[in-house]
């Protein structure tokens, strides 16, 4: 066997898992796509986010909290190993509201979740004036915000780069420009690529984002993932304007204001559209009127990788034991959990996290 683990997909999810396995002394080969592949890892919004996650499934909220709590140390270790800093701020984040009704409605849902989590859900509601003290540039249309203290944001591209660097430094083999076409299992797994590269491995992790929809069934997974487009804008670099991030806008470490994101069911179309850009710009200006004068420098569209209920899927194949499906929408938030906790689950250790609720069984009746 060439390697202990073949990881199909070299995005943030695949590399985080690879990194965690390498740290346990396992041999890992990562198969990555090319420059034109759909890459949620380079199109995402960069939040390390807890609030609003798992409103119907407290285990998901807890899993996000666990990862957020591990993030700072994870980023520091990557930075130490590679000399690349992975900027991270975890000083809380906002859910901004333009109406009292939506604010109240969200608060009542948070209360239910807080109860389910045994009270560990540290948030507070800021009215307009209290919010203005924190965010002097907030606009009059914003009636208030929910400030959740476990939220934050990171530089997702620096994370991806540090992972790409450290996985190699730890001895991982990363094969680029690969499209996996077949996976078979006899003694071990045999992975074949379109350019006739083959890799033999004891175990396989399928973390290919949207690619899992095609490959998954060949490994015995349902892999019911679909694309959902998010358009994102970024402005010229500006002096400090936004203190804490929200789902509407955040100021990145380089100074630009990043604005997002649309939720569009348009299949595998990752283009940006004028109506999409205009709608996002209007919303951002409603939140922070000073942004009206800012220059838009770049925009992009990226495809979220969504399961039917939006939660991650962690599943070992019943047909091909030793093959695992790992897929989620929030690869940045969950990066630390994937690096620190998921290897125990893959290795079947006693102290592995309980990921039962994330199995594919939940889609059985759909």
């Amino acid at each position: 066997m060439e390697t202990d683990y073949a990881i199909i997909g070299g995005g943030v999810v695949g590399l985080s898992v690879a990194w965690g396995l390498l740290k346990r002394g396992l041999r890992v080969t990562v198969l990555d796509g090319d420059d034109g592949s759909f890459r949620a890892s380079r199109g995402n919004f960069g939040l390390v986010w807890v609030q609003s996650k798992g409103m119907k499934q407290p285990r998901y909220a807890r899993w996000s909290q666990q990862s957020a709590a591990l993030w700072a140390e994870f980023a520091a270790e990557l930075g130490h190993n590679t000399g690349l800093s992975v900027p991270l701020e975890q000083r809380g984040g906002y859910d901004l509201h333009f109406s009292e009704e939506t604010l109240q409605d969200t608060v009542s849902k948070y209360e239910v979740l807080k109860e389910a989590l045994g009270g560990d859900y540290p948030y507070e509601v800021l009215g307009h004036n209290a919010l203005r003290k924190e965010e002097p540039h907030i606009g009059p249309k914003v009636v208030g915000a929910i400030l959740h203290h476990q939220d934050g944001h990171a530089n997702p591209l620096k994370l991806l780069q540090a992972l790409a660097d450290d996985v190699r430094r730890l001895g991982g083999h990363v094969l680029t420009g690969k499209t996996v076409t077949e996976v078979t299992k006899t003694d071990g797994f045999q992975i074949s690529c379109s350019d006739s590269t083959t890799v033999s491995a004891a175990k396989v992790v399928l973390s290919a984002g949207l690619g899992a929809a095609q490959l998954g069934p060949k490994l015995g997974f349902k892999a019911p993932v679909r694309p959902q487009r998010g358009q994102v804008l970024i402005t010229e670099k500006l002096p400090k304007l936004i203190n804490r991030p929200s789902l509407i806008a955040r100021q990145v470490d380089e100074g630009g204001i990043q604005i997002g994101a649309t939720n569009e069911e348009v299949g595998r179309d990752d283009r940006v559209t004028q109506p999409g850009l205009s709608g996002l710009a209007a919303e951002a200006i409603a939140a922070y009127p000073a942004l009206a004068k800012a220059q838009l420098v770049r925009s992009w569209g990226a495809l979220r990788v969504l399961s039917p209920d939006g939660l991650p899927i962690y599943q070992e194949s019943a047909e091909m034991p030793g093959a695992y499906l790992v897929t989620c929408h929030s690869g940045i938030t969950l990066a630390a959990a994937h690096a620190r906790l998921l290897p125990d689950w893959l290795e079947g250790h006693q102290n592995a996290p309980d990921l039962e609720v994330f199995s594919e069984d939940r889609f059985a009746l759909s």
Binding site: G10, S99, K141, D165, V272, S278, I285, S299
Partner: protein, 464 residues
Amino acid sequence: MNRRDLLVIGAGPAGMAAAAKAVKLGLTVTVLDEQPRAGGQIYRDVERAAKARGAMLGKDYVYGASLAAEMRESEIEYLSGSIVWAIEDGFRVSYTRDGSGAQIEADRILLATGALERPMPLPGWTLPGVMTAGAGQILLKQSGVLARRAVLVGTGPLLYLIAAQMVRAGTPPLALVETQTRSDFIRATRHLGGALRGWRYLAKGLTMLAAIQRAGVPRFTGATDISVEGQDRAEAVVFTCAGREHRIECDTVFLHHGVVPNVQAARSLDIPHEWRADQACFVPQLDGWGESPVAGVFIAGDGAGIGGAKVAEIAGRLAVLKIAEAAGRLSVKERDQRAAPLRRMIRRELAARPFLDLAYPPFAGALAPVDETIICRCEEVTAGDIRSAAKLGCLGPNQAKSFSRAGMGPCQGRYCGLTVTTLLAGANGQTADQTGYYRIRPPLKPVTLGELAAMSVTEPVGKE
């Protein structure tokens, strides 16, 4: 919304000629152009400058005034000062004019966005006092400003043209530091036959060279190891020529080693491109009329491959013949009859091109610069940063952009794109076609959020 038969983007020779022709054939036409006045880069501001400085700028330049007048006098909606920032299916084009956003819809689009100067990254090129020769020429055309104590560095006919104009204006450059070599010339001579058919270009070149020679401007050819030195601004050009190191003190350095198609708009429409080795750049895939695989999108002029102003003008008219035929204004027979003489003219105009491309190749030292050289000015990314990205598995520019920030700045990668492709291709042992190019997205040019928001039809409702 305003819907037109044809929307032309760019009012250089291709755009001006195409628009005038299209109106004559009965099409409704709008021209969007960034500049305040028509002419493009080659005939920049020609209607004003031809009167004031025509003698210094020369006959070929003054010719552009006739194209501009023809366009202005016909029934064309000509919207100067319009910055196009998005082109979408339909076709729907978003642009900014006088500080507010607007849109036009059109059945067909002609991209006549011309060429860009090929960036010439070499040590010291970002110092104040260093600019592209084209930028120097814009100053000359628009305001008659001439640089004193200037050194021209690079290769190609434009370098001679500017030198000759400077001589005529009474401020000759201190020197021409040229990068083409004798063996380039020898390789080029196998195309001398073609060049002689395009003899007017050669004759012009020889006349310019003679004027430069008469003015006593020293010429150094086959220069290598070129750098610009200076503390806070350019103070000298340093280079090696015939085994000797030279240092020429100066205040201004003009860099130029050819022009390349401006492909940003075409790329934003996902039009496939291929690498053209003879011109060391990407060109869009087009049929014999200039139509791209994205039906209804045509490209004419230097944006389709470098051919110069006359070719651009004729190619603009040629594209309009197919556009008019598709719109039912010409029969196929009429179209083909009218096209034949245009195609002959294009062949004649292009005859000298293979000779010029080989005799004045881009400077190898600036195609793949040494590690320390900045290649993306917007984000201050070096050639070494790109090579490091390749070591981390980046096969193409879009991955390298994520890791290095090259191409993330206000120029949208316009000026570093080809360098990044060339560096990655070299580092990964792949071809330029395998390596590819930046995925170009709106905004093609920066636009304010306020302008964008004003075009929104929905009210902000907050995020789920």
